[in-house]
Amino acid sequence: MPSKCSAKCGRNAVLKRPKTGDSLCKECFFEAFENEVHFTVTKAKLFKPNTTVAIGASGGKDSTVLAYVLKLLNEKYDYKLKLFLLSIDEGITGYRDDSLDTVKQNRDDYDIPLKILSYKDLYGWTMDEIVAEIGRKNNCTFCGVFRRQALDRGANLLKVDYLATGHNADDIAETVLMNILRGDVARLSRCTSIITDSGDGIPRVKPLKYCYEKEIVMYAYFRKLVYFSTECVFAPNAYRGHARILLKDLEKIDPAVIMNIIHSGETMKVSEHSKMPTLTKCTRCGYVSSQEICKACVLLEGLNKGLPRLGIGKSSKVKRILEENEKLKGASCNGEDNKCLCSGNDLKPSKFNDLKI
């Protein structure tokens, strides 16, 4: 016999909430889920009215639910936000086609404008071109570094007021665990923040920070939202995968571990005596970095100078090669060719002007 909804609405429950243990019907679940996101948004004062918000959209479950819920709350509570979807096309033949199709469907279904930026727009190179230059073996370095910065660079390029991403509670708990396992105290103290800054003054916000992955997937299922699933995140040997497996195993025993880990991360204080890496801004692109020049700019410099292996090894070696390059070539590479991103904030190709947001 199905159990009744804990909200006493008389309907049959359809799911057990990991967060509260309540059994809720579809309608009461929608309301609880949406209200909680609204509470998160208002309590943290995530957005100011009359601003533009780019929603980092991959076509996956998290960003799809984020887009749907933000649109709904924006109308219901009159946040006065101009929302649009921002997607990145890495330029890997055949890789993004399906997920970009999904994002395009999100655009039509939810009536939210979509802007797709390519790696070519952001970095001057497609991943296919990078692979051709460097070979398959090392392209993971590029992919990882470029992907991490892509949305940030895109948001900066489009001069939005906020970049919202679909990070959920499980993601954040996983990142807390990862930073503990790595002893990365600097990231540990930052990774639970609901608002972060990458150095350019555009706040990165996570409205789904307290939403369980199970509830996001259930929400998408019951709302019949279309999303795209890429290959398993449990790629063999992926370090993050191990943290994720551990977390999922623990969550099965007690779903509260997710909130407990986030809470621990939020309240942990770094001792004043501990040595912290000083964070500075990349002198080329302004992105927050522990080095003078961020990894992406180093990799780009290597590509643009025909030394694609630059940046794959140790950073001290990178610095030496860079210094040697500077001496050899004299001036900076700024303006040397149109592939250079060293001008960072000044990069404004005319085609971005047609963005209607």
Binding site: P2, K16, G59, E213, V217, F222, Y227, S229, C232, V233
Partner: protein, 97 residues
């Protein structure tokens, strides 16, 4: 006993990318439970890497199960007794996007 089994959220990748499967479970003396069904799926439907779908005689943590659009956690999980024409869905939350 005829039922429908569906895989989504990326779980279908382990089943030849086929989402919906109409299944006729062989008669047996005792009731069919989800626990029995999982073993049957492993032997009859699963195409590759069973460790990505099953763990310790259950589904792998992170895979959601719904019976007729109701969370199996409300129905006794592995012990749920399957009825004819049930629609049982496995949704992976483990896949990125």
């Amino acid at each position: 006993m005829k039922i429908t089994v569906e895989f989504s959220g990326g779980a279908e990748l382990l089943f030849n990318n086929k989402k919906s499967h109409d299944v006729d479970l062989p008669d047996k003396d005792t009731n069919w439970t989800i626990a029995n069904l999982l073993l049957w799926i492993k032997d009859n439907l699963l195409q590759e890497r069973p460790e990505l779908f099953l763990q310790d005689n259950s589904v792998r943590p992170g895979i959601l199960v719904l019976v007729n659009d109701t969370d199996w956690e409300l129905l006794g999980c592995l012990d749920y007794k399957i009825e004819p024409r049930d629609k049982i869905i496995f949704i992976s939350t483990l896949h990125g996007g």
